[in-house]
């Protein structure tokens, strides 16, 4: 999958390496800014409240 992607990037080797790094950075930023914040609401690992508030989903 990754080999296939790498072969299909245009340009000489060093350009393709730069493109790869940019793509990786883009994916990481999307994960950090959108995917993980969304996923964390289902995370059972973060709750610091007591009582009824503690029973509502996800607050560590």
């Amino acid at each position: 999958m990754y080999a296939w992607l790498f072969r299909h990037l245009p340009g000489p080797l060093w350009i393709r390496i730069i493109q790869t790094l940019l793509l990786v950075a883009l994916v990481v930023l999307i994960l950090m800014n959108y995917v993980f914040p969304w996923a964390s609401q289902y995370s059972p690992w973060t709750d610091s409240t007591v009582g009824a508030a503690a029973l509502s989903p996800a607050v560590l």
Partner: protein, 247 residues
């Protein structure tokens, strides 16, 4: 996949070999994504929270300013709306520069951003009863990371537009998460009429888990109106944080 393979790839891979290889790549990717999630949770969220807290502190210092010199400071809302930042918490035992904004509410939207949240069912500073605040032990700014460091003689300060409330350490307890009674006006006693003014801090325990809660109770030992000089040990930090009081 196969039909796109350039001809120069000499040894042709079998279907099974390609399936196993592809599956391996997917599993490796999932592993990396999970590792990144841990990085996000333990590190990235703290960076984001620091930014939010700093801008919240800047905003609140505007709210604390009297409209004109010599005028009374703006009133503290009796029931602040959810999400509203209404105070600043200072705990020298948590660090010399420890100053965190306090917002109304203990939902994720407050605790994951502003950091310290006020249980809306509990009292406000100055009222008889119990002012209860929640905060993360770790992640999202981890405002109460050092909760276990509080000991006899330690003080915490809550600043509102009205002035600065000084609280002195009383006790620490470790309880199950469902023990909402620690928030009662008289902690642990339903229906008992309160006579004291308390501050209660709640956070996760042990660190990096949500099995239990660490609860610290403090009692109000002093109140300094905004136009009077604040206690010397905290005066400079308050001045630096909110520009209130004489520096």
């Amino acid at each position: 996949m196969a039909r796109n393979q350039p001809r120069r790839v000499a040894p042709r891979r079998g279907v099974i070999s390609m399936l196993v290889g592809g599956l391996g790549e997917i599993l490796l990717t999932l592993g990396v994504v999970l590792l990144l999630f841990v990085v996000w949770q333990l590190w990235w969220t703290n960076l984001e929270a620091d930014n939010t807290q700093n801008s919240a502190l800047k905003a609140i210092s505007q709210d604390f300013k009297p409209a004109q010199a010599g005028e009374k400071p703006p009133a503290v809302p009796k029931h602040p709306i959810e999400g509203k930042v209404w105070g600043v918490l200072y705990v020298p035992a948590f660090g010399d520069a420890y100053a965190k904004p306090i917002a109304e509410g203990v939902g994720m939207d407050v605790l994951d951003t502003v950091g310290v949240g006020h249980y809306p069912t509990t009292q406000m500073p100055g009222q008889v009863g119990n002012v209860a605040l929640a905060g993360h032990r770790q992640t999202h700014g981890q405002v109460f990371w050092d909760m276990d460091k509080l000991k006899a003689g330690d003080k915490a300060y809550v600043q509102t537009a009205a002035g600065l409330y000084t609280y002195t350490y009383r006790s620490t307890e470790i309880v199950a998460p469902d023990r909402g009674d620690v928030l009662f006006p008289v902690p642990g006693e339903a229906g008992t009429k309160a006579t004291e003014k308390l501050l209660t801090l709640t956070t996760c325990h042990p660190p990096f888990t949500t099995d239990l809660r660490m609860i610290v109770h403090l009692e109000e030992t002093a109140f300094t109106p905004a136009d009077k000089p604040f206690p010397e040990e905290i005066r400079e930090l308050v001045k630096k944080t909110t520009d209130v009081g004489k520096g």
